[in-house]
Symmetry: C2
Subunit: 149 residues, 2 copies
């Protein structure tokens, strides 16, 4: 299997497959005499694992851990779970940050007339002017309790 076919079969671009190989995330695959990479079914399976892990937002380093656990038939599922929960916490803090940004921005935008006059609470807030609505300028609102605890 060529790298192009491997890319199609795994959903990972050829570029990225080479990159993952170069940084050691996947072991070096076989080569033809002419130097073309050849991918076994096992290689494809690994690539699909990676594609799925990427789609869940795992970093290359986390995927490296997960792949090691996957290959280790003596693993403890608690180790896998720990990696997963660590990632969930990262996701949570990103989500909180984004939601808080969104919240603040939404609030500001709601109070903007959106007409052809220059007066605008969004710019007012960015410029540090105390808002008419009485909310502090640089504070970010507390996050929504959105991730079902």
């Amino acid at each position: 299997m060529n790298i192009g076919e491997a890319a199609k079969a795994s959903g990972i671009s050829g570029k990225m497959i080479r990159y993952y190989e170069s940084i050691g995330l996947i072991p070096s695959v076989g080569r033809t005499e002419a130097g073309y990479r050849t991918f076994s079914d096992k290689d494809i399976h690994t690539l699909r694992f990676i594609a799925r892990a990427r789609s869940l937002g795992f970093s290359v380093e986390q995927m490296s851990n997960l792949l090691a656990l996957w290959r280790d038939s003596n693993r403890a599922s608690s180790d896998v779970k720990a990696v997963a929960y660590a990632h969930i916490e990262e996701l949570d803090s990103k989500i909180e940050k984004l939601i808080s940004m969104r919240q603040t921005l939404q609030h500001l935008a709601e109070h903007c007339q959106g007409d052809n006059r220059p007066s605008c609470p969004i710019l007012g807030d960015l410029a540090g002017a105390p808002e008419s609505a009485g909310t502090a300028p640089a504070q970010v609102r507390p996050p929504l309790a959105c991730e079902e605890a």
Copy 2:
């Protein structure tokens, strides 16, 4: 005002101030004879504007637009609002993606025993095995309607 004082006063590191100047986000500030940058109150105001905009997640390009609008006393507030809403939509799509990842991962982790045995639905899902819980392996759950429309 030195760059160090400007950094403290604005909350933007000296490194970043130089960077923002180099890419033209802020106009070139004054210099002493020895080549040291000098920051006026107006410069500091601009830097604070930028710091606040960054904290709301605006990109450098968006900040450039916002700064131009800020400086234009003939702006239409609708233009500012448009920038804000475009950014809110970007935030929304990021939030949706992250929440959907979180959701999937949470679901998998909940079904993981987390003991010292190797069997683990998280790895099972990543490896593409059909789950015992009956959920499709590679599908991501629909996003939570979390951003109060």
